[in-house]
């Protein structure tokens, strides 16, 4: 019942901080209610498919947005991609020393005898998917594949690095920014992987003025400031 | 009228076949050695065990009929079952255990009253207790009370008094007699005590290894030599059907006439003219060749020796006729030799009054 009165936004879990701040700003400014559901983009997409009455879908990658579009669940015409992210290599703060990632980077020396790289699941968690793409395009995937450990979320990968269980991690710059005890030691070349983008769309049948109002707010200047504060690449 | 005709086999080799009928009121005793199949029969009547074949009819209602596919559910049979193990409900107080069946009973004309049962069984002080705090005998008494208060139309009692002391038994037995007679409650009764059986039962079914070796009036069945080891040598005896002739209030004695003579026994609680049954144990009957004078023995019956049977050990069984009635006497073989006892001889049978058990027989089997 409540979903009718308030605008419900489906957002990828990695947008949690930013969207909550933006939601607060919006409430203060307009007095209107917005509700968020933060989960994996895939779960949200499936829920939309099952008829979940959300108004806006903010995905952490284009694949799932394409999926909902393909199922005619979200309005292609409304797609905006206001923010992106960059992929970085992190290490525990006490072992960190900057490196440069390119096609000649010697991962095995960098990792040592049994060092591991933690990242998201390389076939399902966006950060992991991008990491695999980047390493593949650098021609190094087969070398490091065995050293990759896939976590359930970027946060879990961060924890592994923070604890020193993994020697390094591949995460988003936004994640690295909020983590303690880790340092960014390199940024993956932007051309080594498809751009990390967060497409937003309005859900079919929910294109009401209220939805529009918040959707526009999400890409407005105030929102962009918030994105920037959390380390997103604002376009 | 209770008609039982059942066959059933248990895994492990035991098989049972029994067929007997019992009157609508009165006690029928099931008798036999341990493992003979007594409990199995009771269970079949209660509906706890399903016979392989046969039928069970109580008061015209078919409990079970294999041929017609009838098998009345346990609760519809309204039998009061006193289990060999007490089976009290552990989560209920003694009081609630007693009330369990009472609350579920149909209204009856002459309900068995709670207070009466509690008094009789001497469990008033236990009402608030839980079963696991009761002694073995206390548990059994509560189980008897619970079965009675369910206002059953048939009582199944599986060695109900085995765990009780003599005094308690002596109190409960007359009550069961009253139930039998006044409420006209038919009772199937398993007991190893021939005293209880003789006192309560009109009919007796004797079992051995699942076979029914005899069924009929108690006196007849008890005469069956196959039963001797079960009954025990010392409890064998004769039953005399008597009529109350006279009461001697001063000495608390009664005279009973039976075909062939008079027996003087401890006072029976029945009016003059009433029928009673007297049990005279063979071991309590002595034989004299001439009428003994000035002895404390009150009953001196003129008898004739019908048969003399030498037994194992020192024993000899003497069969006596007193008029048309029969008596049995157990003496030593030495006495037989000393007195030269022989069939046809006229003798005196000496029976102490105090040794005669007399009981009130209920309606006899048809």
């Amino acid at each position: 019942a409540r979903a009718q009165e308030v605008t419900t936004v489906f957002a990828a879990a990695s947008l949690t901080n930013a969207f909550q701040d933006i939601g607060k700003l919006y409430r203060e400014k307009t007095g209107k209610e917005v509700a968020f559901s933060f989960a994996a983009s895939s779960a949200l997409a499936k829920q939309l498919e099952a008829g979940a009455p959300a108004a806006i879908f903010a995905s952490a990658d284009t694949k799932w947005m394409d999926y909902t579009e393909g199922k005619d669940l979200t309005l292609k015409a409304t797609r905006v991609t206001p923010i992106g992210n960059s992929l970085v290599l992190i290490m525990p703060a006490d072992q960190a020393k900057p490196v440069t990632i390119d096609a000649r980077f010697d991962w095995l020396t960098f990792l040592g005898a049994d060092g591991r790289i933690a990242t998201g699941l390389t076939d399902s968690v966006p950060a992991g998917i991008y990491a695999k793409a980047a390493l593949t395009s650098l021609g190094q995937w087969d070398t490091v594949k065995a050293r990759i450990v896939g976590a359930e979320s970027v946060r879990a990968a961060l924890a592994l690095v923070e604890r020193g269980e993994a020697r390094a991690g591949i995460v988003y710059s936004t994640d690295a920014a909020i983590a303690k005890n880790v340092k960014v030691v390199a940024t993956f070349p932007a051309n080594s992987h498809p751009p990390v983008e967060y497409p937003f769309e309005i859900v079919k049948g929910q294109d009401t003025p209220a939805t529009r109002a918040f959707f526009d707010f999400l890409v407005g200047t105030e929102a962009r400031a918030v994105y920037a504060r959390y380390g997103f690449v604002v376009k | 009228m209770i008609e039982i005709d059942i066959r059933l086999a248990r895994p492990g080799g035991f098989s049972l076949a029994a067929a007997f009928s019992a009157p609508a009121a009165g006690v029928t005793a099931l008798f036999g050695r341990s493992g003979a199949g007594k409990t199995t029969i009771i269970q079949a009547v209660a509906g706890v065990v399903r016979p392989d074949a046969g039928r069970i009819v109580v008061d015209g209602e078919v409990f079970f009929d294999q041929a017609r596919g009838i098998d009345l559910p346990i609760e519809a049979r309204r039998v009061g079952y006193v289990f060999q193990d007490a089976r009290l409900f552990p989560h209920l107080s003694v009081d609630s255990n007693l009330r369990y069946g009472e609350r579920r009973a149909r209204a009856t004309e002459r309900p068995i009253r709670f207070e009466a049962v509690v008094d009789l069984l001497g469990i008033g002080h236990l009402l608030k207790r839980r079963p696991h705090t009761l002694s073995g005998g206390e548990r059994q008494r509560v189980a008897i009370g619970r079965a009675l208060l369910a206002q059953p139309r048939l009582l199944l009692m599986d060695e109900p008094l085995a765990a009780l002391d003599e005094a308690r038994k002596a109190e409960i037995l007359p009550y069961l007699e009253r139930l039998r007679d006044e409420v006209r409650l038919p009772i199937l009764y398993v007991s190893h005590s021939i005293d209880e059986v003789v006192r309560l039962a009109a009919l007796m079914v004797a079992l051995a290894d699942g076979r029914q070796i005899a069924a009929g009036p108690v006196a007849e069945v008890m005469a069956n030599p196959e039963l001797l080891p079960v009954i025990g040598r010392f409890d064998v005896g004769a039953l005399l059907e008597c009529t109350v002739a006279r009461h001697d209030e001063a000495f608390a004695l009664s005279d009973l006439t039976f075909p062939g003579g008079v027996l003087r026994v401890p006072q029976v609680g029945r009016p003059v003219g009433a029928a009673v049954r007297a049990r005279v144990r063979a071991r309590d009957v002595a034989i004299a060749l001439s009428r003994p004078e000035e002895v404390s023995v009150s009953n001196l019956l003129s008898a004739r020796i019908e048969a003399v049977r030498m037994q194992e050990g020192p024993y000899a069984d003497i069969e006596l006729s007193v008029g048309p009635s029969r008596l049995a006497s157990m003496v030593t073989r030495e006495s037989v030799a000393r007195l030269r006892l022989a069939p046809g001889q006229a003798v005196w049978a000496m029976v102490k009054s105090v040794a005669v058990d007399s009981r009130r027989p209920e309606s006899e089997p048809s």
Partner: protein, 229 residues
């Protein structure tokens, strides 16, 4: 101590755990009884079906719930059309998810207790004139109460910890479906989330210990009542 958001999650968790247990318990007792006392073709299948939510990753359970009970789901569409029951996004849905996930645990506990009830007592009750149903309520149920209680405790505990099925089925909506585990999940995606995650974890533990303590007291009473103390 806790932020208002956290309080909401705690309240919601309690609500979900309570109602999930409340609704699933009678069914669990029924199913346990059927499994323990009846024999029928297809019993094995029913048995297997009941263990499914345990065997499958909770995310899959949530997904299956979504497919069946979602607004467009095989059953869900009728729930909405006929009864106006909406599960997706709602606390009711979260309750369903928690109940389904805990069901095998509850059934198993109750069944074990049920199987330990002396059938001789049930027979005795029937000779005293009690119907099967009556016997169940007056003898069997009281005697298996420790198992029911244990089942309820498992249900509450697993409802308090349920995450995967809930977030997959009914999403993560504050005040509706964001129970403590989902709030912890969200917290881990926030810069200052560690403290919040820790607080909520502690709350979970305290709630569980509370439930356990309460169950312990109730259990003692039950055992005294049924003479097994």
């Amino acid at each position: 101590m806790l932020t208002p958001e956290e309080w909401i999650a705690v309240r919601l968790s309690l609500e979900v755990a309570f109602w999930a247990t409340f609704w699933s318990l009678p069914f669990a007792v029924l199913v346990a009884w059927v499994l323990a006392r009846l024999d029928f073709p297809g019993k094995g299948l029913l048995d297997g079906l009941i263990y499914l939510p345990l065997v499958l990753p909770k995310v899959v359970v949530g997904y299956l719930l979504l497919l069946t009970l979602g607004a467009r789901g095989a059953i869900g569409q009728y729930l909405d059309a006929w009864f106006g029951i909406k599960l997706i996004f709602t606390t009711a849905g979260a309750t369903v998810a928690a109940a389904v996930v805990s069901f095998p645990l509850t059934v198993n506990a109750i069944r074990l207790a049920l199987e330990a009830v002396d059938r001789g007592l049930e027979v005795a009750a029937r000779t005293l004139g009690a119907s099967r149903l009556d016997v169940f309520f007056s003898v069997t149920l009281p005697l298996m109460l420790p198992g029911v209680l244990s089942g309820a405790l498992l249900a509450i505990a697993s409802a308090l910890g349920e995450f995967g099925a809930t977030i997959t089925f009914v999403s993560n909506v504050e005040g509706q479906t964001r129970t403590i585990p989902l709030a912890i999940y969200s917290a881990t995606h926030m810069p200052d989330g560690d403290a919040m995650a820790l607080r909520l974890t502690v709350v979970s533990v305290v709630l569980a210990l509370g439930a356990l303590l309460l169950a312990g007291l109730v259990d003692r009473r039950i055992r005294v009542m049924i003479g097994r103390a």
